[in-house]
Symmetry: C2
Subunit: 469 residues, 2 copies
């Protein structure tokens, strides 16, 4: 059982007249079936709430406009839904309302290979996007793990592996088409690489978690597939040795494309799950992109740093198949960990700190987690200073959830004290609203509220997320 | 004589009670001297307005808060002033009010070399910043030409040479301390490299041209000084050949650090001004940063592309002195051009287009400028698709100004039709308010207005810029 939502929330149930109007407008593309509602009323996180009153399956920008206008006319919340892979309760109908599923808006609208840009509908997933553009020799590098929708990734300012080199959705969304709270369509940004034309509405929308507008088109930057790609795995005598290697690599300016930490618990569960036969020590998984000479140069530099920290057993992979095998360790860590404790639920942390504080932040938090006795695994996009503890708790034991939440609170407090953030890539949702206040301060959150109230005066777009009004 | 401002502007003169209160609070750090007011009532652009009623020289965040609070109490505009190098009328007191000069807030507050970040006060200029950090082996790469203040660069989302590799102020401001319209202090962002913690207030503030808040601290990303730097100059038989070389270089993903176009008019005036003895043909000025091997590899790739387009006379510079000589051609182009027509004034365009449209946009605009008979020069950060015509007009001849404005209008219309922007880096100010409407559309500009009204309900922060309310 997921943790139930605190009962104090405002409830704004969808009135029958709205459900009738939606049924009339959308016909078979509107559903109030229990199973459909329940599927749209949860995400991959650990908090639960009653499902939305109905689900609109939008096929076009016009559909999104009409759904928003109908919801606005009835003062009813509307929650955009992509792939359902968010982690902090973003999709939960905490005040009631309807879900607006854009997953069928999944077309590539234009590939502008010469400009290294692509314009897509929001429902396309990142894997489908890369499949659709692979003939161009370009790729979209951002990989948050889940096969998330591009709209959802933009809405949470997602990143993941590769961000250390290619940036996050903040850097890689060039322009948006957005349906506003009153059902109008606006465009933000252009396909030019840079602009000083007024307020940066694109960046304001990216990371706004569906609270300021609903994306109906997203223009992204693409990158040439690197001429050479080389992946390596390296074991270390301690987490500290692994992390120190990363810090030095970043400080030297090596343009490493991926550098992921996998702790000993993760290695163990992955070995058990995938029979990879990896050395049961903390590991770094690295990937280098560039020309053959540049990749070799980067790899040599990092190898030298690693060897100074006792890194050993560098294992290289240059073919796609070998790389997939190595990356399986990282990609399977979550599922392998959850399977390692039958019936358990993972609560994931998401702090990100300045790189110089990474070792301190990680080591203190590891010591705390070890002392708590709660099973956990640890992975991280450590080149960005971002890492995730996955606490494996028995959902039937409230004390375990409380313990996990307490560990997370201590971790967030530590990260904030070190100049970091409570969320590197998952977003605030409903789970981190308190942490956001701690991090940004009342004045900055008040500014966010003022923007929300100005752009969505009826508070219909995904209300009850990021901050309370 | 500069073009006078249209007479319809709202006027909100500073009441004597405000001037008295400022004099009392700031003593010798408040001036109503005519010369001081006039110096603060203009920028490097071509539009003029009556000067502000007085100038506060802030020394601290507290000073900024107090000045803003006093201005707010008297419903009087307050205009932040850094180095005075903006180009679109940003600093003009078009509705009256006071200037808030932060140039004395010019300290480096903390250098966090291990994290590749620095926190500065807004009045420090980019050259002073680089001087202050040079012992760290790091540098701040953004170079808009003028020795602008960091606060002003953040306020206009500046970029310039190097942006093709290192990004603009959008990508390089990590965090801000901001005094809001009611005199409160907020912090946006953290020193972590990435974050999904709520609305991206940092990016909203960057490029807001002093209309949403006044920056009192700016945290910037720094970069390791490249191990090797190599600059080259290459002449081409035509602008088209030069531009095609750039397009191909970018499309291939070569991480070139700078690639500047200098047209034949610019070469001629620079030769006359600086006696550089350059071939009088269109040129590209390039710079490569990286390891010695990577720099060599990049240079070889570009040389090959250039030679396919008839590029010749590659001249290389690897020592700082040789590089300075080559870059003199670019850095002196503006002054050399202005001197080439005694008494003239330059009006600079600032469009930026997707790279695939760069040749079309440039060539059509060159043909138009040539046909007009108005003297001009052309330079550009062409790796970003951004270029500047400088029309050299006689300010005593209204027809020349009208012609220059018409050429600019045609250029902007062309760039927008090609998916570009009216301003790559100079900002909107008062000069491009109409263009912003054309580019973003009424709906998006209305969203900007709503944000402005929510964050500055009295409209005291640099009013009358970016859009009309």
């Amino acid at each position: 059982m997921n943790a139930p939502l605190p009962p104090a929330s405002i409830q704004r149930p969808a009135p029958p007249a709205l459900l009738d109007a939606l049924a009339q407008r959308f016909g078979e593309h509107f559903s109030t079936a229990q199973a459909v509602r329940e599927q749209h009323g949860r995400d991959e996180g650990s908090i639960s709430a009653p499902p939305p009153a109905g689900v609109v399956f939008a096929q076009s920008t016009q559909d999104v406009q009409d759904a928003v206008r109908l919801a606005a006319a009835h003062d009813t919340p509307v929650i955009a839904y992509g792939a359902g892979s968010s982690l902090e309760g973003h999709l939960l109908a905490v005040q009631g309302g309807i879900s607006l599923d854009v997953s069928r808006m999944n077309q590539v609208l234009s590939i502008d290979a010469d400009d290294l840009t692509v314009t897509v509908q929001p429902g396309i997933t990142r894997k489908a996007l890369n499949e659709a553009i692979k003939h161009t020799g370009l790729f979209f590098p951002i990989d948050p793990g889940a096969d998330a929708s591009i709209g959802g990734m933009a809405a949470t300012r997602a990143s993941g592996t590769n961000a250390v080199r290619y940036g996050t959705l903040r850097e890689n969304v060039l322009a948006l088409q957005v349906v506003t709270a009153n059902g109008e369509v606006i465009r933000t940004g252009t396909r030019a690489r840079k602009s000083s034309a007024g307020y940066d509405l694109t960046r304001l929308m990216v990371g706004s978690e569906g609270t300021l507008g609903i994306f109906t088109e997203v223009t992204l930057r693409l990158y040439p597939l690197p001429e050479a790609v080389s992946a390596a795995i390296c074991s270390f005598p301690s987490i500290e040795a692994a992390v120190r290697t990363v810090i030095q690599t970043i400080q030297l300016g090596v343009p490493i494309a991926r550098v992921e930490l996998i702790d000993i618990h993760s290695v163990r569960v992955v070995n058990a799950y995938s029979k990879l036969g990896l050395r049961e020590e903390p590991m770094l998984l690295m990937e280098f992109h560039g020309s053959p000479a540049s990749v070799q140069e980067q790899a040599e530099t990092v190898q030298q740093i690693a060897s100074e920290w006792g890194g050993k057993a560098f294992e290289w992979a240059t073919t796609p198949e070998e790389r997939s095998r190595l990356w399986a360790a990282r990609h399977n860590a979550y599922f392998a960990a959850v399977q390692s404790r039958p019936g358990c639920k993972a609560i994931s942390t998401d702090t990100c700190v300045p790189i110089s504080r990474l070792a301190d932040c990680l080591l203190d938090s590891v010591a705390e987690a070890d002392a708590s006795g709660l099973p956990y695994f640890l992975v991280g996009h450590v080149g960005d200073g971002n890492f995730h503890f996955g606490y494996l708790l028995d959902p039937q034991v409230p004390a375990e959830r409380e313990l996990a939440e307490r560990l997370n609170q201590q971790l967030v407090a530590r990260a904030l004290a070190m100049g970091g953030t409570c969320t590197g890539e998952h977003g605030v949702g409903i789970h981190k609203m308190g942490f956001l206040l701690d991090e940004a301060g009342e004045g900055a959150v008040q500014m966010m509220r003022a923007i929300k109230q100005a752009l969505d005066p009826k508070n219909i777009l995904n209300p009850g997320k990021i901050f309370s009004l």
